[in-house]
Amino acid sequence: MRNILKPIYRNFSRKPVTNLINLGGLALSLSLVIVLAVYAYSELTTDHFHKNGARVYLYSESGNLPRIYTPGVLKDAIDQNIPEVESTLRIAGTWEAPVFQAEDQEPITSDLLFTDPSFFTFFSYKVVEGNPAAALSEPLTVVITQSLAAKLFGKQSAIGKTLKLNNEKTLTVKAVIEEPKANTSLSFSALTSMATRQIVMPNEAEFKVWPFCLFQTFVLLKEGTNPEAVAPKIAALFPPDMKTKKSEARLTPFNKLYFTQFSLFNANYLRCGDRTKVMILLLVAALVLVIALVNFVNISSSQWVERVRQIGTMKVAGAGRFSILSKVIAEAFLFFLLAVFLAMALIALFITNIVSYTGIHFNLGYIFSFQFIGISVAGAFILSLLFSLIPALQLSNSKAIDNLRKGITKPAKKQTSSSILVTTQFAIAIVLIAFTILIQKQVDFGSSNLGINQENIVGLKLTPELMAKKDVLKKMISENPNVGQISFAQYFPGEIISHWETKTTGGSEEKTVFYDTFNADANFFKTAGLELIQGRLYSGDIATDANKVVVNESFIRENKLQNPLGTKFMSMNGSVLEIVGIIRDFHYQSYNKPILPLAIRNEPFSTYCLVSLQTGNYKALSQSVQDIQAKAKSLSPSFPVEINFFDQAVQQLYQSELQFRRTFSLFAFSAIVICCMGILAMSMFACQRRIKEIGIRKVNGAKVSKVMTMLNRDFVKWVFVAFVVATPVSWYIMHKWLEGFAYKTELNWWIFALAGILALGIALLTVSFQSWKAATRNPVEALRYE
């Protein structure tokens, strides 16, 4: 062993710079590959930890919008009529985020799910203390997660403790479960029984009649049951007036729920992921690895060429083919192994930074699990074998006498292969740079063209106490000199928006109109800066305006209304609404979603108080916000008061794009760094190899600039070829990526040009340093050893 290690160490330290570049690049790329592989693994195995998860399905109907809301009575109907179903489970969220308050503690906003006792048969969670299944069959009990328990009760045992829900009912904690894993689609912090729901949200009908669709229904199928056969049977249970086509009934496997994008209109406990993003990031990881491996091949082959003579000497001294073979492979393996451990160290050091910067969310536990370390080491072995076998075979099969004769002279063929490799590297780098620019452009495009005021607006979430004292609140807030408009509305970016389908009335023919809708007072339009294009806005001063609505352009277009102004239609709560004005379309939801028909109603119920602040001064702004918060706090002692900036809430809508952009740009940047390290090493070799040539040219009168041009020309050529190759490839990828967006930025030519110029600039900067050094050397030194 010593005889293998020592020469490897000495070989390494003889050329520390190139070897460190090689090792560092490899370690950097491996750390990225490991992080991304773990991330992808974590994403792709979301929910796989539930013991019965493979047999759990969510019932849904795919209509215009995939609907996963089902009536409460469906459970009993399934249990009685469908023998293939072992068990049925309902889950329902709350409309408003609930507020919990432990004794003598500040109230906190949290989340709460209502569910059946079979929850823990369907899903596996580790119990920290108590009996969770029992808790879900009793009224006014609650199961909470460890983190919520810590927030509410600190380090004490939570069992038997009570907490106040929305300042009304008291719930008793019956069990504490371990925090749900990061890779799960169910995210919640408290569970309670359906019996509790009947007490805190009394609504007899929802458990008795069909039309109240407020629950999600999961079924646990018996082993070996075909879900596609069961789904139509469930659809057949609905009463005639609610029946949908059997073909539209779906049972979505729970394991695949994460990548099926269902949206819930109330408390969204279903997290969803995007498989495309995972795949793109995996692809990036693979590309980064390719770049690093190219470096490895280029650098190590240059070194092996120099060591051909050494191999010859060893052969003459009696080294067998096997010992040469194993030496080369062992060296490569150790190198990769070192890189893997370095990568692990890098990950251990920077994982918190990476996670907080990119916001990617995954099960960190996987990284340092034995399996992953084992896989990494095995991967290192396979890679080293793959990339050292060819030189190892060449070297061990070569004739000793040839090796001794050849020495340093390099065969010409080697050159072209390494130039192809470097070109590949640059092509990858250019694609990554171009894509990074595009993602940035798309994010900017999205968040700047919403058609709604974003700046200097804050939203104050109305607690039940504040709702009762709206007028007082308005008066108190308007005392602040910085406050401009004040509006009460049911709208805030990221909040749930109702979707209605009703019928028109009073016209010549009855037709169905569908639309998203929320309440807002007359001030809303000014506060949000919405543009009226036809008719008028309703006013708070005119008493008859109470049933007037303002709609957007899509409302007219999608519902095909001829003379929209004055059109009357029913609302879901029975009143008749009349259109008085049309406003320009704006993105009231994420720009990834198409703009749907929207009706803004002049009804008093509101959930947010929107305040526009008239100051650009950051300090005044934050003081005003504090002032508003303090005032609201004084009016709402038993509920937490939340104030959010409008633009930040908008940013939240693009969280996943932002995360993607950051993750992608981080990895693209690393790829470019590794690329640079590679060409730095290549240029060092090139300068060394041509040292004599440079000397001769200089003796014969070449200027420094001439020599530098000569040395840089190759690299420029490679970047150019790479640019030509990369442009169509990246155009295609970018085009595909943009197709996923409802509103997309343009694919300008300058994106590619900028990427190419950046790549060229980076390459020249890296290479010029070396060539400058080589070109300014005293030629006598180079020619001395003839």
């Binding site: 000495r10 003579r309 060893m314 003459v316 001294a317 009696g318 080294a319």
Partner: protein
């Protein structure tokens, strides 16, 4: 010991065959010290390489102790290199990443000699060549003559019967060259068979027999008295 019969070595190019060695017949007995001389390109090194099993003749017979050693398997060849012959080169060909000690030790490792024995054997040789103090230096830190001494030590540590030296003094000052030749002579006196290629008339005379090659043909083969 060595018997070469009608050895040819040639390279075929498109229109003609160029001979490096032509009909070489040579017998070398155990204990001889043979110097091969000749102008550049006369085929001296090729002949030495063929004898050292580093190169194959194009035609002819080559037997070592009456066993044909043409078309040997790689493995058998390696065995000859490990146990039967040692090489010395003009350019020393020491491994630069290894110390003097390790360079000398290398053949023993390939031979499979145990650690303790290796230590003793290397120490012995270091002592003999007066290089004990230099054992931890790297080749670059030594003078040419000393590097060649290490080369000799490495060549003979496996106790070979045959020592092949390709211009061992070619890169050295005459005084260092003389020192090397004295060492070779001493080895010969101990009974080792040595074949050396040299340009230097004076050093050739250290041998018991001088063979003069010209254009691949043995022109003269004379014994020194």
């Amino acid at each position: 010991m060595i018997h070469l019969n009608n050895i040819d070595k040639y390279y075929d190019s498109k229109f003609q065959r160029s001979f490096v060695l032509k009909a070489v017949n040579l017998d070398i007995a155990e204990g001889e010290f043979v110097s091969i001389m000749g102008p550049s390109g006369s085929g001296k090194s090729t002949l030495l390489n063929i004898i050292g099993l580093l190169d194959q003749p194009s035609a002819g017979e080559y037997t070592l102790y009456d066993k044909s050693v043409l078309d040997l398997k790689e493995k058998v060849k390696v065995d000859y290199h490990r146990n039967f012959m040692g090489f010395i080169f003009q350019a020393y060909h020491l491994i630069e990443e290894m110390t003097v000690y390790e360079n000398i030790e290398t053949p023993l490792i390939y031979k499979g000699v145990k650690g303790k024995d290796r230590e003793a054997m290397v120490a012995d040789l270091l002592d003999r060549f007066n290089m004990v103090a230099k054992k931890d230096l790297f080749p670059q830190q030594l003078s040419g003559g000393q590097q060649q001494l290490v080369g000799i030590a490495r060549a003979i540590i496996g106790k070979p019967k045959l020592l092949l030296a390709d211009e061992p003094t070619g890169n050295l000052h005459s005084s260092q060259g003389e020192m090397i030749m004295e060492n070779l002579k001493a080895l010969h006196d101990e009974g080792m068979t040595i074949i050396q290629v040299t340009h230097n008339e004076k050093f050739a005379q250290y041998g018991t027999r001088v063979i003069r090659l010209e254009d691949g043909i043995i022109r003269k083969d004379e014994k020194n008295v």
